[in-house]
Amino acid sequence: MSLTNFLLMRHELLLTVAALLILMAEIFWDPGKKRSINLFSVLLFIVITIIGFLPSPSGTLFGGMYEVSDTRLIMKNILNIGALLVLIQSVTWLNKEENSEKISEYHILLISTLIGMNFMISAGHFLMFYLGLELATIPVAALAAFDRYSNKSAEAGIKLILISALSSGVLLYGLSMIYGTTGTFYFNEIAKLFVNDNLQILGFIFFFAGMAFKISIVPFHLWTADVYEGAPVNITAYLSVISKGAAVFIFIIVLFTIFPVIIASWQKIIYVTAILTMTIGNLFAIRQQNLKRFLAFSSISQAGYILVGFIGGNQLGMASVIYYILVYIFSNLAAFGVVAAISNAKGKENIDEYNGLYQTNPGLSLIMLLGLFSLAGIPPFAGFFGKFFLFTAAAQKGFYILVLIAVMNTIISLYYYLLVVKAMFINKSEAPVEKFRSDFPTRFALGICVAGIVVTGFASIIFEVIKNISFGV
């Protein structure tokens, strides 16, 4: 293995170096200056994100266990952007007194999950995939329980770890069947040996169920709302955007490269689960009062829309899914950013506590409006383009009924997004959230989100680049 080959792994390497540097800083820096670790970590991460965009050759490592291609690079870069935004958004919260001891822990844990996701996305072998998956999941559970004096946070952590263990078990069971029938774990070999065998399909179904837990697809979504509500807001944002995005990315790669033979079977599965996920996510979101739970259910329904992009198995489908995740990162992080800012400053997390928010905090209300409208798919925001492409991809293969159900669901989702808009802009309140000025990191991160929401849609070049590196079945 030469150095050039080794550098194919630069995303993972850089992140590892960053995690180690932060660890060093924790050990050697003056205890009084621990807060500057935030700045240090964010700066490091900015550098990593930029380096990630430099052009890189494609290739494989470790005898094909690790694979880099343009598709996977783009996916990693998108995750980097999202993780960077989450990091910046967390600074305010980390600067609080009760967290001052744990700043570096937070950064190291978060970065190690990202390393895991990167390995997972680059997997060319199911072992590498599984390794990455576990590395991506277990530290998140620690993060979810980060608020150590809060029962809910601890509960969220334990729920997450139990569910991950269960889903990993299910997934491994499925993989064992696939291994049993093909005798290999290499993606490209499995793809060749896969025949429409019943045991293989059963294996696939278990694998699908395992992934469905990670992406929180109905009926494997039950953990989502509790964990999202209990975890600190920034971790919830991370879970709902980055973790989910990474799982979607590797799932679509695996689906399109390993399982094209059984496309007819997985189309049926995805058809049903997509409808269930959208509808149930939306219907439950209507009744939520707590904004974190609200966004949890909204993110479940978003997963349903993403599945609509999967179904055609076409190049446009993959492109629209990757593009949608990018859009979703900006939109959802804008919404979560506002929730986090208000929750950190005033401790308010309920929709009715947002009544009259526009009168006191117009800036935050407008960003929230933008984020929610983008999630709902209202033009001219990026979410509109994202949804349009997802639906176009499904329609290309003739799934018009599914598209109809999906667009009807966007109307339901518009209803509950408008409920929040109504609270902020129309409802009057005796005691609205007082006027406050959020600090620089929050404003900076929200600014990037807003720019992303506005630009990603209009700048067709982004979609075209993604389209070019996508592939179909």
Binding site: A395, L414, Y415, L418, V421, S460
Partner: protein, 501 residues
């Protein structure tokens, strides 16, 4: 920059200007200036268009600008106009201009109000200039969504309910539309060529019949909801009555025309065979709209509800005429859109002005206004007479053309329904005259009325602008109908190719 793109750029610049100014009084000045410019621009456009046509330019669409946007899906930013869209653009800029003056007194969140209002107008302008289905759809949704805030924040009565109902129904319609557009797109190259969103390109191919049967109803209903097609009209009375004045004006005057225009430009123009086969269902529905709307208006007591139901009736007539699919009726449909747009905007503006004085919209609580505020009352009578189709005003021209066109069909079905629809003229006369009698004539209902002041300058600007155009179309309809007629010809040709009467 081409002249059509300016129609989007100017509103956007106006919005930027409004965001930047600090003083609330300057906000409406900026808004009025911007929309005044827009009005001048549309006059220039009309002039350029007419002179281009007279110099012998017979292209289907003029001032075409085509920029590739999403290359892999063949999505373009494509704009272009024919006589019909020019007429609609002129109507829009008039109504928006009048709307700004009619909302001169908005004092709660003034800035946000004008921003939302102009954003809505941007969507409408964009819709009328687009010849690419994707951009068209984008602008359609852009026009609908500010409505929620406009009604929800500045409205009256059960505003939250009405705003939500209106938004969800219209967005539901756009959901159907999205499906229709995707269906058209994926069938736009039956011979295996490049798929296209461009209306002109699609109109040159024949979309397979099986696809047409599926997607014509979706597209037609999608636009029909906005055009108050029975039974999807229910958002209209609630929405209009809760909305603030300028929004009602814009919504009834312009936004509902998006429905008629879209049904015509997309549903019928691109899928004429299915339109021919299935038109009977929709003709029945629109006839119900026409009659039901008129009867609905008779029993209402709230001025805005009366006018909203009357809009259902009149817009139903637009869709009714479009479905007749011959040149005379379609010509009438376009004139009706313009006429109704001006007239109903005038109505809502006047209702807003009356409400500002009497603080009620219930007709039985008012009376004798003619003596105290003669200017506004006379304007109201003129609007009413235009609505019931008095010769010399725009409503007459439109309705006569429509019914003559509709009666050209020799078969019993069309003729009977035309006769039924014609009765709406009588019913309209009933509710208009009834309102005028109760509202304006007789003794003053309240002694406070003596202190009323007649129209202020900005109210006069608003009313006189609209009335002069209503009268202009009524007295000299050939200007408008020749502009429309030459643009209708290629569309009629396409329809006639499959559909010889």
């Amino acid at each position: 920059m081409d002249i059509l793109t300016l129609f989007i750029v100017i509103p956007v610049l106006t919005i930027t200007g409004i965001v930047l100014v600090k003083d609330m009084r300057h906000v409406r000045l900026v808004a009025a200036t911007g929309m005044g410019l827009q009005l001048i621009l549309s006059a220039v456009l009309v002039y350029l268009f007419v002179s281009a046509r007279q110099s012998g330019n017979t292209a289907e669409m003029l001032f075409i600008k085509d920029i590739v946007w999403f290359k892999s899906l063949n999505i373009h930013y494509a704009v272009g106009v024919d006589g019909i869209s020019v007429a609609m653009i002129a109507l829009t800029s008039l109504v928006v201009f009048a709307g700004i003056y009619a909302s001169w007194e908005v004092d709660f969140l003034t800035k946000e109000f004008f921003i939302s209002l102009i954003l809505l107008a941007t969507g409408v302008f964009g819709f009328f200039i687009s010849i690419d289905l994707f951009t068209m759809f984008l602008f359609y949704e852009l026009a609908v969504i500010p409505m929620y805030l406009l009604i929800g924040i500045w409205g009256s009565g059960p505003k939250e309910y009405s705003a939500m109902k209106l938004t969800l129904m219209l967005m539901g319609a756009s959901a159907l539309l999205l499906l229709g557009i995707l269906g058209i797109y994926f069938n736009s190259a039956p011979d295996g060529g490049q798929l296209s969103f461009n209306i002109l390109e699609i109109s040159r191919v024949k979309i397979p019949m099986s696809a047409q049967y599926l997607f014509f109803p979706l597209t037609f209903v999608g636009f029909g909801v906005l055009g108050a097609l029975f039974p999807f009209h229910t958002w209209s009375p609630d929405g209009h009555s809760s909305a603030p004045t300028a929004v009602s004006m814009l919504h009834a005057g312009v936004l509902m025309k998006l429905g008629g225009y879209g049904a015509f430009r997309v549903a019928i123009f691109l899928m004429p065979e299915a339109a021919k086969e299935l038109s009977w269902i929709f003709i029945i529905l629109t006839t119900i709209s026409v009659i039901y709307g008129a009867f609905g208006a008779i029993v209402q007591k709230d001025l805005k509800y009366i006018n909203a139901y009357s809009s259902v009736s009149h817009c139903g007539l637009v869709l009714f005429a479009i479905l007749m699919m011959n040149k005379t009726a379609m010509n009438g449909a376009i004139i009706q859109m313009i006429s109704h747009g001006l007239m109903t905007a005038l109505f809502f503006a006047l209702i807003g002005m009356l409400y500002g004085r009497t603080h009620t919209r219930m007709i039985n609580e008012m009376g004798g206004l003619m003596k105290v505020i003669p200017f506004l009352s006379v304007c109201y009578v003129i609007a009413g007479l235009a609505s019931l189709g008095l010769p010399g005003l725009s409503g007459f021209v439109a309705e006569v053309t429509i019914f003559v066109g509709a009666f050209q069909h020799p078969d019993l079905f069309h003729r009977i329904l035309t006769i039924i629809a014609t009765t709406s003229i009588v019913i309209t006369a009933v509710y208009i005259l009834r309102v005028i009698a109760i509202l304006l004539l007789g003794p003053a209902a309240n002694e406070h009325y003596e202190h009323f002041t007649d129209a202020k300058w900005y109210e006069k600007v608003s009313a006189v602008t609209l009335i002069s155009f209503v009268a202009f179309i009524g007295l000299a309809p050939w200007w408008l109908s020749s502009m429309i007629g030459s643009s209708l010809q290629p569309i009629i040709n396409k329809i006639l190719a499959f559909n010889p009467f």
